[in-house]
Symmetry: C2
Subunit: 475 residues, 2 copies
């Protein structure tokens, strides 16, 4: 096959994983660098993935009664200062508008790094009584955090995300919300993106600035690093107090509301690339593949081949499958490489001999297995195959996750294991200072709590344990 003419190459996934990642996202036309440092252009192939995952969660949100809305991206600088931890958390990374409409502004405007402060301000205005509760809104928007080191999708100055914000009349309902939304994120990761995750509460040190508790989902990359892929925050009454969100409860007493917030962002696309990719490039699970099936006619000059290819395209398209027929002038070999690199789950090859035999040739991207199916079985077999690929990709990723986790009780071993691309499950005292020391010494951080347990010793300081928690390096 004409492999020599396929000029796009990706760095070696085993020896240069970071280079491999960049090559893949750039060369498959998912993303490009924007002109301003740290910004990205999400190209159609990357954006289509975002649209697919967005449509899944958006539907789930609506099913549980969340409503979409849109809040301004300009936040008066003073708002950010209302909640003490919050301002500390975000002040160093905000972008600020100082003049507009040809004039210096009286009050500087921060571009939302997250919208708790401005949304709570509006909620304070709207909410009067328990009858107004719960309020549950979500917005799909851009947000800005000025980061020193950036990488497409994983960490960019401007990113796309959804942020949901709620207020409830009781802590109990807020607790339920935090769990409900976390579960939606787990489903998104596991059922749609085929990414198994670790989920649970984060340590106090790692929680969101201003939250009472943060829950998160963590995906593990092939290089052993963890990637926070979604968070659900229990804000308690912190933001309600800072923004004065009060409601008359059923007993006629003014009470502060109980709020939550939760979000996922375009960095999920980065996780998707890393978890599934291989030396040939992307490998996309069918549920978020912009092209689920590519049809490549072999011998495009033969009319019968093109006719048959179009027939197959129509059949699959009628089933709602995202199919592309590539009858361009590139060689079949070039196309094979191109769509393998783009991670298209199924390739169908149709040549004169296939037509004679009443079959088409199928190549699965996940296993690279080649087989033939009868033309008349296409409508039955292809959907089954897509389903099988989705499950198979999850299964493989789950094995990798399981293999990446080791338990250990000794700090030196913990450090070695992490260096060895592992995520370590160990006991910890729960003290932020102890965690801080670990981080400063090793760049290793805690990820999510596995289980509460006071019967062991902290892996680092030796004091009584509070919980068992995952340790790892992070993206």
């Amino acid at each position: 096959m004409a492999k020599q003419e396929f000029v796009k190459e990706v760095a070696d996934i085993n020896t240069d994983f970071a280079g491999w990642y960049t090559d893949v996202v750039i060369k498959t036309d998912m993303v490009d660098y924007g002109p301003v440092k740290g910004t990205m252009v999400i190209k159609p192939y990357g954006y289509a993935i975002w649209e697919l995952l967005k449509s899944y969660v958006d539907k789930r949100f609506k099913q549980v009664g969340v409503q979409n809305a849109y809040f301004p991206m300009f936040i008066p600088e003073s708002y950010l200062k209302r909640e003490a931890e919050h301002v500390e958390g975000f002040a160093p990374e905000v972008a600020v508008v100082t003049y507009a409409g040809g004039q210096e502004l009286n009050e500087k405007l921060v571009i939302r790094p997250t919208s708790e402060t401005i949304i709570c301000e509006m909620y304070a205005k709207w909410i009067k009584s328990y009858r107004d509760l719960p309020v549950r809104m979500n917005q799909w928007c851009n947000a800005v955090r000025w980061e020193k080191t950036t990488r497409p999708f994983l960490r960019t100055s401007e990113f796309l995300w959804q942020e949901g914000h709620t207020v409830y009349a009781s802590q109990e309902e807020a607790d339920q919300d935090v769990e409900r939304m976390l579960n939606i994120y787990i489903d998104l990761a596991e059922k749609i993106l085929a990414i198994p995750v670790l989920s649970g509460r984060k340590s106090d040190r790692e929680k969101f600035a201003g939250a009472v508790a943060t829950y998160g989902i963590e995906a593990i990359m092939p290089d052993g690093k963890c990637l926070q892929a979604g968070t659900s925050h229990n804000l308690g009454q912190n933001f309600a107090k800072a923004s004065n969100i009060r409601f008359l409860n059923k007993d006629g007493i003014l009470e502060y509301g109980y709020s939550t917030s939760w979000g996922i962002s375009t960095r999920l696309i980065g996780a998707l690339v890393m978890v599934h990719g291989d030396e040939r490039g992307l490998k996309l699970p069918p549920n978020v593949a912009p092209i689920q099936v590519v049809i490549i006619p072999v011998a495009t000059h033969k009319e019968e081949v093109i006719i048959k290819s179009k027939e197959v395209e129509e059949k699959l398209s009628n089933l709602g499958i995202r199919v592309k027929l590539d009858d361009s002038k590139n060689t079949p070999g070039w196309k094979f490489n191109e769509y393998e690199m783009k991670g298209v789950p199924i390739r169908i090859e149709i040549g004169p001999r296939d037509i004679e035999n009443g079959v088409v040739t199928i190549v699965r991207r996940d296993s690279l297995e080649k087989s033939q199916i009868e033309f008349d079985n296409i409508e039955k077999t292809i959907p089954e195959l897509l389903n099988d690929i989705q499950n198979n990709m999850y299964k493989l990723a789950k094995q990798n996750l399981d293999n990446a986790i080791v338990e250990c009780d000794d700090f030196d071993t913990l450090v070695k294991e992490v260096e060895n691309k592992k995520v370590v499950l160990a006991y910890h005292c729960g003290d932020s200072k102890c965690e801080e020391e670990i981080k400063n010494k090793t760049t290793i951080k805690t990820r999510v709590i596995h289980s509460y347990d006071e019967n062991h010793k902290c892996v680092y300081c030796g004091k009584q344990s509070k919980y068992r928690i995952y340790f790892g390096k992070q993206y």
Copy 2:
């Protein structure tokens, strides 16, 4: 009915149209003012309308081969200066980020007022040969234009919109694109929003800053003012030259690309409110009504009424109709007023007597006609009725549009007619200076060209006419 207890009131639509508009959009929970002057919060009831119209055009875009993408909102200040007319057009209204991440920036960043400059920069990088063309991308995003006078939806510092940007290998294809996208906007306005529009080319004075020609759709409001509801720009080679978008054509010669851009924004929601509303508030065409049918049980304490109401809700919901059952404790009278104000196309009342008679009572929002339909006919009748309301609302709006247009050949009469809430069709010389004088004297502007005609005299300066064009005041 308990009208007295319904405390939300709107200003008189005949004597205070501006006050009526603000009351309606605020009191129906479509929108609220943001904390920063000129910004708005789009609340769920308003945002749901945006989502519905967005889903219609997005589908149309995809059908004609446009792909969604996302470009950074930060534009280096220097980019805006590349195209001379463009910088003049937008410089006075941009918002500028001067520091970020705790540091003063080396180059100031403009927040996109529109993205021609940054998208063309990327296109210049991506496009090499005619084989790369056409490129047709669209993005749904926020944009910022710092306006002195703002009104929710109609003119806000930050707004939501879609902006499509294309590059073609020939002027002819670009011309076709401009027309194709304009036609999608006409369909959106007429078929979905039930808003009849005037459409056509704008005068040179009124075109987009940097375009060769701008085409637009104009809706006429009850106060006789025109509202530009969508634009499609032919950019010729202007931006390609400014950004150096060149491709090797089929003859192997480097040539500048031919580009277009086109957009609609959240101001369409403002048009929707004004065109259809009446003294009771909003009146929404079924195709974009977040709630198409509201069910109001009369005598909510009776179990049979609630059971029947839920049955109807389920029947309609199964048909894909957006239905809401309001079994809250407010009085029926309060609910009637509430959903009339919210413009819900159909109200179904269900009371004990209705149940006895095997019927439900129906009230159409467009005509306020009351009727009864048999319970067993609901699934047949309601969809027909929604369809009829949609058509009827368009018909009425079309009559209003037709009645608003007068022809005249004399400038004094033109001014009087415009003062009298009319849009005037008159001959004009096409000279921007002549147009400028008219505007400075009267605030009247040209809207879109009706037809080319050189056989008459300009209504203002008396020189030879170039075309017949609509004149009016604008939002």
